[in-house]
Symmetry: C2
Subunit: 660 residues, 2 copies
């Protein structure tokens, strides 16, 4: 420590858990960094934001700007996928202090020769640090200030802007202070930040009833998925399914001979997590599917569920990776009094944990080698956090473009921890946030707290495990409303189809969120050409998402009052106000609802007495609106939502048709 380092840097933000975890950004995004910077006394302090790609030897720098109350701000853009670092450097700048005081002396007509000589001393020091022309220029300034006539030309010296500009290049950093920590950023590729997921069961993808679908069938279904505008196709586990304690239809404890079992009961004689269920096809079929999808702009995402059926090869090869009971049997999964005898959890407290970690990571490596770059991880919160941090960290060192979606429907701090330690995207509580108040509060929490720095939500209206009461009761309007909300509130969203677009709403029993005749336990045939399908509505929604960049950010949302609690209203707008979408959704799937919405004209970027046009991108209807308060009415039996583009008039009223 050098006692002459006098600048103080505090509270650099964003900073997660004292820098223990990185923040997340998408390549090309800005990183706005704030810090408290000050020094003792009245000297001028200079603060630099430093940033670099991890591993680089030198820092890039941008000067921080003081705001108020010793708070400073600066920003840079992350330009490469991987890890980026940032920190802050600050020093007391003697030249700038001198220059500021010199200006005050000139104004007070108080300049003495010694004041000019003090400045000359500092410029001479800078000249010694400079080279070439700069050095010569600085040396000429030293002479100029040292000249005994200089005291008669102080106003000229004071007015010169070249000197302070040049001196910025050669500050004395001898006593510069560094912030305590170097902070880091996980920089992801674009799809981490905005993606539209479609989940389907491959075995239910056959083109005719009564057949077990295959990867080839999935490949044949790709044009359908692409026509709806999805860019991630997520497949539940495609591995051999165990037979011991296999579940029957509707999760029956006993399976019949022809029951196919749950794809999450992974592992059989034919192999485990790196194998493909024989009825689905071959590794070649899988590679073909990945390639065909890629040609349509779709990535295939695989499910990784780190658990074994009793028939998994691991059980024989590594019995010590599972907990042995005193009677010599292996501990199956249970949550007393519930028992899951078809599932053996890994024992992460095994003394052989290092070898087990390596093997589990190798599952991801295997599928990465097969062309998979996105993984949906099943129940990550039931495996140690340290394991995930290591596993994801190691994989991303080699493959920084691999993305991980955490399927953790658990307590908030656990979900956040998983996001902090490396999961790219996270499932959320969206499915259970159905009222206006619930939705507003939840989205506000995700977009205004520290969580927005590391938690990328992925909104799913349904999943094979979640058929919400709202969808069960609300029917087709409910599916349309929830799709609109998911697709416009969150840049990452997904649906489980075809049950979604076919509006499957029947639960296994009243009060259950399980589907009746769930695809988890049996094969279904889906007629994707059903006339009542929502596929065109879905396609339109994804088209709107593609065409409107404001839907690629999550925190550009603003909720607006409506005098009807069944109507929710929000805008998504760009920082420069060049684009604004206005969404209104009728949350009541049963009745026509209407109300007056109250919009801040500043957000819309329109003026009080000037009418503006709202153009419904769903129905193509256009309305001429005036001022803050406007009326809306939505019939759920038609379309329960408006997705308006706000068009501002750019010409005079004589050119009525012209809106921007």
């Amino acid at each position: 420590m050098d006692g002459r380092c006098r600048a103080i840097i505090e509270r650099v933000r964003p900073e997660i858990d004292a820098g223990r975890y990185p923040i997340k950004r998408i390549v090309g995004q800005r990183v706005v960094v704030d810090a408290n910077v000050f020094t003792d006394g009245h000297d001028v302090v200079v603060a630099m934001l430093r940033y670099r790609n991890a591993g680089a030897e030198t820092w890039s720098e941008v000067e921080l700007t003081p705001l108020v109350n010793d708070e400073w701000t600066g920003e840079f853009v992350v330009d490469r996928v991987g890890v980026c670092e940032y920190t802050v450097l600050a020093w007391v700048d003697r030249f700038r202090t001198w220059h500021r005081d010199f200006q005050k002396r000139v104004a007070a007509n108080q300049v003495a020769s010694v004041d000019l000589l003090s400045g000359a001393e500092l410029i001479a020091e800078a000249a010694a640090r400079a080279t070439g022309d700069d050095r010569a220029v600085l040396e000429s300034w030293v002479k100029r200030l040292g000249n005994e006539e200089a005291v008669h030309h102080v106003q000229q010296i004071c007015d010169d802007t070249d000197l302070p500009q040049l001196m910025k290049t050669y500050p004395s950093r001898d006593f510069a202070a560094e912030y305590d920590r170097v902070l880091s950023i996980t920089v992801d590729r674009e799809r981490a930040g905005h993606s539209a997921w479609y989940e389907l069961f491959p075995r239910s993808a056959a083109s005719a009833p009564g057949k077990h679908g295959t990867l080839k069938d999935v490949e044949a279904r790709l044009p359908y998925v692409a026509s709806m505008g999805f860019d991630v196709l997520y497949l539940p586990p495609i591995h051999p399914v165990g037979t011991t304690f296999r579940k029957g239809k509707n999760n029956a404890t006993e399976a019949n001979g022809d029951d196919v079992g749950s794809p999450w009961g992974i592992g059989a004689a034919k192999g485990g997590h790196k194998a493909i269920h024989p009825q689905l096809g071959t590794p070649a079929d899988f590679r073909s599917l990945v390639k065909a999808a890629s040609r349509l702009g779709i990535e295939v995402a695989l499910d990784v569920a780190l658990q074994c059926s009793p028939d998994h090869p691991y059980v024989k090869q590594h019995p010590d990776w599972f907990r042995q009971r005193p009677d010599g049997t292996i501990q199956y999964a249970e949550n007393p009094p519930k028992k899951y005898q078809d599932i053996y959890p890994f024992d992460f407290e095994t003394s052989d944990w290092r070898a087990m970690w390596d093997e589990l990571k190798s599952i991801f490596d295997h599928w990465i080698a097969e062309g998979v770059k996105i993984f949906r991880v099943d129940n990550p919160h039931t495996k140690p956090f340290e394991f995930w941090e290591w596993c994801i960290g190691e994989i991303r060192k080699e493959h920084p473009d691999v993305l991980f979606l955490a399927e953790a429907f658990t307590r908030p701090k656990i979900m956040y921890r998983l996001a902090k330690l490396g999961f790219t995207q996270s499932y959320t509580y969206f499915a259970w946030r159905n009222t206006k108040q619930e939705l507003t509060e939840y989205v506000t929490q995700l977009t205004t707290t520290e969580a927005r720095e590391f938690f990328f939500p992925n909104f799913w209206p349904n999943t094979p495990d979640i058929l919400t009461e709202y969808l069960q009761v609300g029917g087709r309007p409910a599916f349309m409303a929830r799709l609109t909300l998911a697709a416009t509130l969150s840049p990452n969203y997904g649906i489980y189809g075809p049950p979604f677009e076919h509006c499957w709403g029947a639960p296994r029993e009243p009060g259950s969120e399980e589907y009746l005749d769930s695809e988890k336990y049996q094969v279904h045939y889906h007629d994707i050409d059903r006339p009542d399908s929502l596929k065109d509505f879905v396609a339109r929604m994804n088209q709107i998402r593609r065409e409107h960049a404001v839907l690629r950010s999550i925190d550009n949302v603003e909720f607006h009052p409506v005098d009807n609690d069944q109507l929710i209203c929000y805008t998504k707008s760009s920082a420069d106000k060049s684009e604004c979408l206005l969404v209104v959704v009728n949350l009541d799937p049963h009745h026509v609802q209407s109300g007056w919405i109250d919009l801040p004209l500043d957000t819309l970027d329109v003026e009080e007495a000037h009418p503006y046009q709202v153009h419904d991108l769903l129905s193509d209807a256009r309305y001429l609106w005036n001022g803050r308060k406007n009326f809306v009415q939505l019939d759920p039996q038609v379309v329960p939502a408006h997705v308006f583009q706000v068009r501002r008039r750019v010409r005079s009223e004589r050119d009525f048709e012209y809106y921007l």
Copy 2:
């Protein structure tokens, strides 16, 4: 790192700047520690709060209690002045997990022998860690659970509470996780937390007009100070005053021959910061004063102003400790266009900074050896933060009972930084917070933000530098109102007297906060027996402070609505509701003001339909009040404040006089 450590500990609070700084507590106070603790899956996690006096080898421990949402809490009491440390430890507890699941199995009538054997295994492991009787008891439990008959007595085993209690003593901590940081606490003696300061100029303490006061005169004035109930007597600098560029009366640039100069122009031929101004007396006089004060329960606090007059011996001995200008002169203090030629600041960028730091610290050491335990530091924010952190840290290593008050009237983050790095107490913006809204906001900020963990405010209605407009205009009622606010809102407060109790309100010129004929530049005589003195009011206020423990905390304040913005109303109450003071102050020094105050009966701990008594500790008047809304009227020409003790009735209505 052992991958089997599965417990997670996040966000231990209080934690200042990621543990860079300690929190502060007064000896005997509780430290409530919160943390987020959880683990993967469903296992039971145990969390321990660990604490110890710094330097101790072993930790004391108390188990944290889970609240909601993975937040846990625990507390301990700091019992020794010095530095205390705390952190959190947590582990996944296999026995408690087994026991919880065992209870569920018993309830579901699902217990198998193997379940009992699993428990027996864990108990056997604990037995190996235990000794003596405990070991024998645990071994008997192993046998009991291993007995093949045990499966028929599971309810008894389940109902037993001794086993889980005993097992708490012998948990397996093999895979315990520690929080990332050990956090620390500066534990101060009581006076750090509540103190009443009285500042006076020794040279104005003479018993007759026209004489330069001495330390002996100060000693003679101690009974007066004690009679008003103060426990800290703070003296501005008592060192030789420089003559070069000495300021005259009312800060005149030129002094007359008999002008005494500012005590802050420290240093002359007779000595510097370790010497005593010859006209004040001798080191023996000073020691006598300290002892006499101590007998009256008063501590003498000295001012340390790290700056020199041009005549200070340091200037000759260490010219390199001051900034040399190119013309060979020494840089005096200035803030262009203002010049302070009578003051040389130290150059903290000197290459001889280490020796200078040592010498500056030795000033404190000198006065500590003379019996001083409290220092008021002048303008600490114009010296490097690193210096203070080192200086205070080193002093307190040897003398943990030494206290420092920071005189930093500067920007909030700088004031907070000084408090974080070691200053015990801090001057505040109180003097400039005069309206109800200003006072409420400021006190709320001090008591509800993180600042309350490290910033001990000291409220001063006036100082030799600060005669606020409110006091200038408001006269005697204003002084009474401000004293009431300072003394009841802040456990630490002080006044500058006798100008305070004599209601000095004349400024040097309109718009100035300087006193006319300020004691900073001339000697005054004060007739402490003036009949219009506020001394009795001050004495009564300090007596109330001594007799009511609720005034020793700052964050037990609650502001209450009054339908008149000139009236401010707040309660100070104990956590157990056994004591409650209710303060109402008329902030208008000119007019009678009245209004209805609205009190939460829960804070008062009274019931709706039961009358209660409020007893004004200032006037001794008693009022019978009912319910939430009550009327108050305050005439500033009498007393502009009520300090009510709320007395709850404890007998029936037939015993009217009995209130608690």
